[in-house]
């Protein structure tokens, strides 16, 4: 059983996050203005940032522009980055802020349905797979959550971050994260109870 407050952070799809040692090396090189270090930073974190942005924006749309803006903000903030937090945490905070800015600019969560992903499930598996209509319901339910609730849901359930890590990222107490999760769960259960298998 993973310690949900202090356990290790692991992305949902099993990709290991860049290690602290790798990040320390990068921070030192970035501080020296090593251009190749920025290339390495982008290569190491691009997929993770893309996946996080995709989830924070409701699994819709092309997140290329958002990812570009995240790394552009990181490039501009490099002179001020002192390595007090890990590069992973730093980039995650930037990604969260960029997604918030995008939602403020557009005034809504992007609701464009994702393109067909080429599902190959057999008929026998249909009962456990999710069709487009159900996915749409779940997405709308998550999109209807207040921004602060949606963020904790994505970070804790989908990014598999412990409560402590989520509270550090968002700059709120662990208790606040727990309360937001509790309220988000109640709202999701209210809207999607027929889809949940207890």
């Amino acid at each position: 059983m993973v310690d949900m407050v202090n356990g290790p952070a692991l992305a949902l799809d099993g990709d290991p996050l860049p290690t602290e040692r790798e990040d320390d090396g990068l921070v030192a090189r970035l501080a020296r203005g090593d251009q190749a270090a920025f290339d390495a930073l982008v290569a190491a974190h691009q997929d993770r940032v893309s996946r996080l942005a995709y989830r924070l924006l409701g699994w819709s749309g092309d997140v290329d522009d958002v990812v570009q803006e995240v790394f552009l903000a990181a490039w501009k903030a490099l002179p001020r980055f002192q390595g007090r937090s890990s590069v992973t945490t730093w980039l995650t905070r930037i990604t969260i802020n960029e997604c918030r800015s995008l939602r403020r600019r557009w005034g809504r969560v992007l609701h464009r349905e994702p393109a067909e992903t080429g599902r190959v499930c057999s008929p026998a598996a249909d009962s456990r797979m999710m069709n487009g209509e159900t996915l749409g319901r779940v997405r709308r339910a998550v999109a209807a959550l207040p921004v602060r609730h949606r963020e904790v849901v994505v970070l804790h359930y989908l990014e598999q971050m412990p409560i402590g890590t989520v509270s550090d990222l968002l700059g709120v107490s662990a208790n606040t994260v727990v309360v937001r999760l509790h309220r988000a769960r109640a709202k999701l259960k209210n809207k999607l109870s027929d889809l949940m298998q207890e």
């Binding site: 092309d62 490039w75 501009k76 599902r119 996915l135 989908l158 999701l188 298998q197």
Partner: protein
């Protein structure tokens, strides 16, 4: 073990949504170019704005000076009927005013032009990138890899999380058959070999 139904539903939705768009290999270069371009634009806009302010202040001061001079002349001139500056002075002042107005208009036009040029450059850069992707076949290859990746990604989840081994095997074989040259097809081959090895051991 009873899994949290909310978490299970969210993870299913995340899986069904598929992965985001494929990663771009030139992202670091694009970021640096974009940073330089925006810095140049901001510098140009600030310099132009400063020039406009200076000219505006200059115009205001000049106008105040002109009014002061006209007032002085008016006071110094003898009483009516015809106390007015000479035609040459009036013509000279009008000419100076016209010149300043022209400079202000030119500056405003340059600002508008620079803004339009910047917008066109950005549009052109976006179009060039799109054309380059199409011409190099990169977009097609990226789409193929994305499709193969999606199939293998879902096959992994079917095998490892839902226990649907047969469906996963069909998916791996489909990825290899449809997109044999992609990196994800290699991953699918590795997965099949691994599963076959496990089967031999049993």
């Amino acid at each position: 073990m009873n899994r949290d139904p909310v978490e299970t539903l969210l993870r299913q939705a995340d899986w069904a949504a598929g992965p985001p768009s494929a990663s771009r290999v030139d992202l670091a270069d694009r970021v640096r170019r974009l940073a330089r371009r925006r810095h140049r634009t901001q510098t140009a806009v600030r310099a132009t704005a400063a020039a406009v302010v200076v000219i505006g202040v200059g115009l205001a001061v000049h106008s105040a000076t002109l009014r002061h001079r006209l007032d002085d002349r008016t006071v110094a001139l003898p009483p009516p009927p015809a106390a007015s500056p000479s035609p040459e002075e009036v013509a000279q002042l009008r000419s100076q005013l016209a010149q300043l107005q022209k400079e202000a208009n030119d500056l405003a036009a340059r600002i508008r032009s620079m803004t339009a040029i910047q917008e066109q450059r950005e549009r052109l850069a976006r179009m060039e990138r799109a054309v380059a992707r199409l011409e190099s076949g990169e977009e097609v290859r990226a789409q193929m890899e994305r499709a193969a990746f999606t199939i293998v990604y879902q096959a992994d989840r079917m095998d490892r999380e839902l226990g649907l081994r047969e469906s996963a095997l069909r998916a791996y074989r489909q990825a290899i058959r449809l997109f044999p040259e992609t990196p994800s097809a290699k991953v699918a081959r590795d997965r099949l070999a691994e599963i076959n090895t496990q089967g031999d051991r049993l």
